[in-house]
Subunit: 240 residues, 2 copies
């Protein structure tokens, strides 16, 4: 009989922002799997520190690259697919042997998470549960003391990889926005925010709810931004 | 010396989807405050059940209305402002007396939460911390088994109160979408999804991660939807 796969949202970084359910299932897992950047301990694994069973088997999967290879490069999809295939195979073998596996995911698994690709490969074949988590963007607007969306606001979540014109147009068309994938797109995002007339209220958050957190006006941020950085444009603050 | 105000995201409904931090601060609070609909126990309070100190003072604030009065009605803003003023005054009095107050908020406080209006009134005058929570939309896409956003997807969060043309235009302009405030807007949202060409993949979720949860294709949902309902349009599923 197959073991169960639990895909656990570990939240944005502060281990105390894990849910009670994720903590419980993490503490019960016989196998704990996670992705990590090459040479790094793994962000999700760091959040889980101290909560694994003493005898848990750890499965560490390394991304072949993170931001070094552009998304439209032919190697990108092929090598990532091979990485997810290998992870699914290793996890699937444990499940087939009847073991309970927890796959750790930073933030919320179904919100821009890599765990979705493992879910796609395994959920049809093994009992699977997914535990949602606090997203990185929630941590950022909370740490910035910045209520993001109110009443009937339209909120857009945008990748910083869009070109400046598209970014400006989208920023102008919504009430509130979160721009992810800031990195080397910071100057472009700032220019787009200026064109859209939202620069004055745009906030830059680096490593929200993690060690080394910084919050400053977007106008004052300097490129390059680290991987865990975001730009927030709070919505309409109608006095109430 | 002032007590501290802790605004706690209680998550989407399942009490186990509360964060460890929210559970800890809730269990320590001398005063527990929350909003509730008239005649109802209060959604955030229900999630907290069993975790309050035995001697905690409870402060219950009733909304003057929820969906009965339209947002653009002159009474709407005035009466809600009076409700938030009264809540802030009652909480402020406890803080001034040196008591620790937890204000409970369903979902994530800074994401369309009423607690923002109390934060606006009190944070400048009393030590305040905010604890982010799992949002209702995360619970909905998780319970639907529906990864919502991938890679460079643009995600839009839209109020169902927009008119059909605006909804259709916005649905067509993004990769993934969440439509909130479904209620009596369900038929209009479905028509807009059809015009935008996304009806085939649109999912309707009622009471995600709560008792009575239902997930079905938007095409099959019937009006009126309850308050806790959402429409999800998952983003591009590039095979990977």
């Amino acid at each position: 009989m197959s073991g169960r796969l639990a895909i656990l949202g570990m939240g944005p970084g502060d281990p105390e922002l894990m849910t009670l359910k994720a903590a419980r299932l993490l503490g019960a897992a016989e196998v704990v799997a996670f992705f990590a950047k090459r040479g790094q301990p793994g962000h999700a694994r760091r959040i889980a520190e101290g909560r694994l069973r003493g005898d848990a088997e750890e499965l560490r999967f390394e991304y072949p690259f993170t931001t070094e290879v552009p998304v439209d490069h032919p190697h990108y999809a092929v090598e990532l697919a091979a990485c997810y295939d290998a992870a699914a195979e290793a996890i699937g073998a444990r499940l087939a042997a009847g073991r309970e596996v927890a796959l750790l995911c930073e933030g919320d698994p179904f919100f821009y998470g890599s765990a979705m690709y493992v879910f796609d490969r395994l959920a049809a074949h093994h009992p699977t549960i997914v535990v949602p988590g606090v997203t990185g963007m929630s941590a950022c607007w909370t740490q910035a003391g910045c209520p993001i969306a109110h009443g009937d606001d339209v909120l857009s979540v945008l990748p910083g990889t869009l070109d400046e014109g598209a970014l400006a147009e989208r920023l102008a068309a919504c009430d509130a926005a979160v721009v992810m994938k800031v990195g080397r797109n910071l100057e472009k995002i700032r220019a787009a925010a200026e064109r859209a007339g939202v620069l004055a209220r745009a906030i830059y958050v680096e490593r929200g709810a993690m060690p080394g957190e910084r919050v400053l006006p977007l106008a004052e941020a300097v490129e390059p931004a680290p991987y865990f950085s975001m730009v927030l444009v709070p919505g309409r603050r109608r006095p109430r």
